[in-house]
Structure formats: C-alpha cells, structure tokens
Symmetry: C2
Subunit: 305 residues, 2 copies
C-alpha cells in the first residue's frame, strides 16, 4: 500500500509532491502528461520570483524541481477512478486497468478547454480548429484567424496572436473583454484586432482545412473568412474522476481552506477545486497545503496501525 497518490501533472500536483515528501511520506504522481494549461501559455509573468518565462519552460522547471525528490512517477497514464476499498484504503484505477492502493489521495487534475459545440468544430479540430493559440498560432503567419471568446483565455490568446498573425478577429458572445487589464489594454491597442461583439457562432466550415466561420448577430448572419479558429471559451474542471467528492454546479470540487474534500484522506488542489483564482501561484500554494495535510493524515494513520 502506498502512502499518497497525487493525480495530476501540473503545479498543484508538483507542489503537493514536494511538500509531502519533505514531510516524510512517500508520494506517487499519476499523470497522463506534465505541464497542464501553462503548456498552452505563451509567457508567464505573474508567478512571483520568475519575471517572465515561456509556459512550457516553466512547466519543465516545475517537473525538474519535483524530481529533486524521490517521487514515484506513473507518467503517460490517465487515472480513471478514485474509490474506496475500505475505511483505510483508496483505490486509484489507471486507464490500463492497473489499480493502485494508497492511504491518501490528492486530486490535482486541473481542467481542459471547453468545446464550442457547433457544426464543423469536431471534424476540423487539428485542421484549423485549435484550442491552443500558443501551440498553433505560429502556423498562421500572414493569415487572418478568429479567436472565439473574450474572457480570460480569449483575451490572452488574442494578445498573443496580434504579434503572430496578420489579423485577429475576436468573436465574442457578449461585450467587452475580461482578464488582466494589462492584457486587455494590449488587445485594445493592437491595430490588427477586430472585435465582433454579441456574435453567436453557428458553424465553422472548410474542406479539408478551415476556410471560415459563420456567426449570427442581431438576427443577421455574417460569413467571416479565416484560416484558423482558436476556441478559447474557458475550461472545464477534470473532476469526474470520483464519487467521493462533492462538486459545485460548475463541476468544481468543493474543498475547505485545508484542501479537504468531503471524504477523509481525499484532498484536491488547483484549478479542479472551487477555491481561489485559477492562477499558477495559487495552485502551487494549494498544492503545498494539500501535500502537508495529506502527509500529516498519512503519518497519523500509520502510527495508529
């Protein structure tokens, strides 16, 4: 039986692992891949102590830091379920059928990009429809692209793309941008951004690659020719992994400030929780908290048995 299984491949998981191991227990990290959403981020400039760094590079730095410690890594495998075997034991099932047992679990599975759910989206994914401006933006140099969404993710994507492509069309279901004002200002001041507000996307079309999209505004349909469509309408928490937790209406796992879920010994941290801003430094802090509390719990259980 393992001490602690941490499910997740990004900052919350890695901070939890560091703190748990430093606190004297063993930790196993299960992740299908490392880095999470900062892999999709151009530059991170708000993680205290690191002025400016590319997202993937920072993701790597975090993994390297974790590897300073003797962590067991189960990489490349998604955990599919967390359940209880008995009072003292959690079971974590992996996608290949293997079942790991542990005294405690931290769920730090983050979120994934929300899909738009319109005609053409699925067929054209990877053929002009993208969920990662930073990954795929450079493919569209000299071309016009659309960013769908003007919330935090959409604004970040638009800001990034203004420097990369010929022209950015922001397609916004409502009005105005939201996000960090420093980024909003960047988008507003860019000369190659056109903002389409109150616009409902109806279809993305093209064969074999994206050629354009159709949206409706005030009852009128507009056809916009673009070579790429970046869907940036937020994230969905990866919380469907266990019935042992409660979630809010958005699917985020309810935790208290100690990062405890409703099940003793089961913790959650980072973007999958209903607590705090979805920011790297917040996730790292929550990971610390979850790792320390899980370690304390595990040590107590061990001393009892």
């Amino acid at each position: 039986m393992r001490d602690l299984i941490i499910i997740g491949g990004a900052s919350a998981a890695q901070s939890a692992a560091i703190y748990a191991i430093r606190a004297g227990i063993e930790a196993t990290v299960v992740a299908d891949e490392y880095g999470g959403q900062i892999n999709n981020t151009d530059k991170v400039e708000n993680y205290l102590g690191i002025k400016s760094m590319g997202g993937p590079e920072m993701a790597e730095k975090f993994v390297e830091h974790m590897r300073e410690y003797d962590v067991e890594e189960k990489k490349g495998l998604r955990a599919t379920e967390v359940r209880k075997k008995d009072d003292e034991t959690f079971e974590v099932e992996l996608e290949d059928g293997e079942v790991l047992e542990s005294r405690a679990v931290v769920i730090a599975t983050g979120g994934h990009r929300r899909k738009l759910d319109v005609k053409g989206e699925e067929e054209l994914t990877g053929k002009g429809v993208s969920y990662c401006a930073v990954c795929d933006g450079p493919l569209y140099q000299g071309e016009e692209v659309a960013v769908v969404g003007a919330g935090y993710a959409g604004t970040e994507a638009a800001a990034y793309l203004t420097d990369v492509v010929e022209k950015v069309h922001v397609i916004n279901r409502s009005e105005g941008y939201s996000g960090e004002e420093i980024t909003i200002k960047q988008v507003r001041e860019a000369e190659n951004v056109e903002h389409h507000e109150n616009a409902q996307i109806k279809e993305i079309y093209g064969d074999p690659m994206v050629e354009g999209l159709k949206y409706e505004k005030d009852g009128e349909k507009t056809d916009l020719e673009v070579a790429g469509a970046f869907i940036e309408i937020g994230t969905v928490p990866n919380s469907g992994i266990s019935d042992l937790v409660e979630t809010d209406e958005g699917g985020y796992i309810n935790v208290n400030p100690e990062m405890e879920t409703r099940t003793e010994g089961l913790y959650a941290a980072g973007d999958v929780t209903d607590l705090g801003e979805q920011q790297l430094v917040v996730s790292a802090g929550q990971g610390c908290q979850a790792g320390l509390n899980a370690a304390e719990y595990v040590k107590e259980k061990k001393s009892e048995s």
Copy 2:
C-alpha cells in the same frame, strides 16, 4: 486618493502588488524593510520552480519582480495604523506622521520572532542572544551554541547551525522536534547536536557577552556554557495595526478564502492571517488572491463614483 495601499515587504505584499497593477489599478507598497522572514532563512528549497536559493537572494528576486511594474514604494517607513476616514476611504498612518489615503488596503505585515521573556534576554540581545541563526550563526564557528525551541523555526535553525558551529544544544520545553521531516532527520543524524528535552530556560547570563544559560528540568537546574543563544520559538503576527479586523486568540487576522477581513475593502494575506500554512508559496498565492480581489473592489468603487 490612492487606489490601493499594500502594507508589508515580503512575498504576500509583492505578489499582491504585481496582481493588482496587472489588473489595472495603482498600488503603493509601504514597508519598513523588504524580505521579511526569508531574510532569516538559509536556503529555500520548497518554493515550486526554484530548486534551491538562499533566503535573502530569493527576497531580492521577489522585489525585483515587483519592480517590473509601476509600483509606488514607501520604503523604510513602518505603517502604524490603518483606520477609516469615511465609508470610501482608508487612512494609513506612517511612523513619521504622514497619513496616506486609499480606497482599499492589503495588510501583509507577516510576523516577528517571539521573545522568550527570561532574565538576561533583553540585555544580551545582539551580544550573543540572537533571533536569526542564519544571520548570526557564522559568528560562532568553533563554538558551542544553544537553539531555544524545537518547533519549525528551532528545527530549521538547528539544522543550519550543525554545519556552522562546533556543537548545537537544542533546548526544548517539551519533547521531539516538529517541522519538515527532511529537516528533522538532518538534525537527528547530525553528530554535533545535543537535545535537552523538557527543559525550561530560567536565565541567560554573561558580561558583556553571553557565557551560558540556566535551565530547569524535573526540578533540577543545569548550567550550560554556550557562546550564543538562538531564540527560535516561533513568530507573533504583526496584526496590531488596525481595529478594523478581527483576530483569533493567537493574534492572527481572520480572513475568508477571498482574503477579506471583516471590513469591506480591507484585505489581509500571508503569515499575518489565520489561514493556511506559513509557507512562502502559500503567502504568494494569498497575495495574488488579495491583490486581484482588491483590484476588483477598487474598480467597482471607482465606477460608482
């Protein structure tokens, strides 16, 4: 009238400043000095993304990061009081009598070392009595010193000093060490540590410098000759700055997970609060939260007026 005054010179304050300014408001940081308790820390190895760095160096990195943004710095001045002028306005009084006004305030004042409160302690402070092993430890090469306390701070200090001085006597009011197990192990495995448990310090003596201390154990007095005494019995929150907050019995400011105190527009973050572990990465996360929420509050108030 200023937008936001952030009181404090360490990670919570600096993270709050970065996030507030990025969110589009102005921020003034008031601090008597920068760095806070990591200035007293030998090596920081648990701040995700930075494998290992000296405390003072990391403190500098944090300040440099903050200075990437257009923050107003009131350095070298302690804030003595936070009060309300009227519904919309906070007043922050500085020790030179200047009064600053702002719409919102973040208290991120951290804590200071707890005093032992025994005979000789005050007279001999700076003459062998120290509250900072990292600062003063190197003065005692080849000598025997005492560390008073075996909690988190005491254990860290002892671990550091084992490599620096001839012999470390840990004087512990109770039994066992607490702290990160990785550090406890280091202390336990060191050959130059003697652990005096269940020992009550009665006096520190010497003229003009520390020559030793006296402690009582099971009714018996022991005289221990040491050249230095490091008092490491935890911290006291610097929360006496305002009547606008509630504190718990330890003096820590009550905040909710949004870092709000009981007064609208007044936030607290970091070690001065009753929330979360006293860890750098937790403070930085809380600073982010406080900075973002304060910025939102300020923007709302401005749009109303």
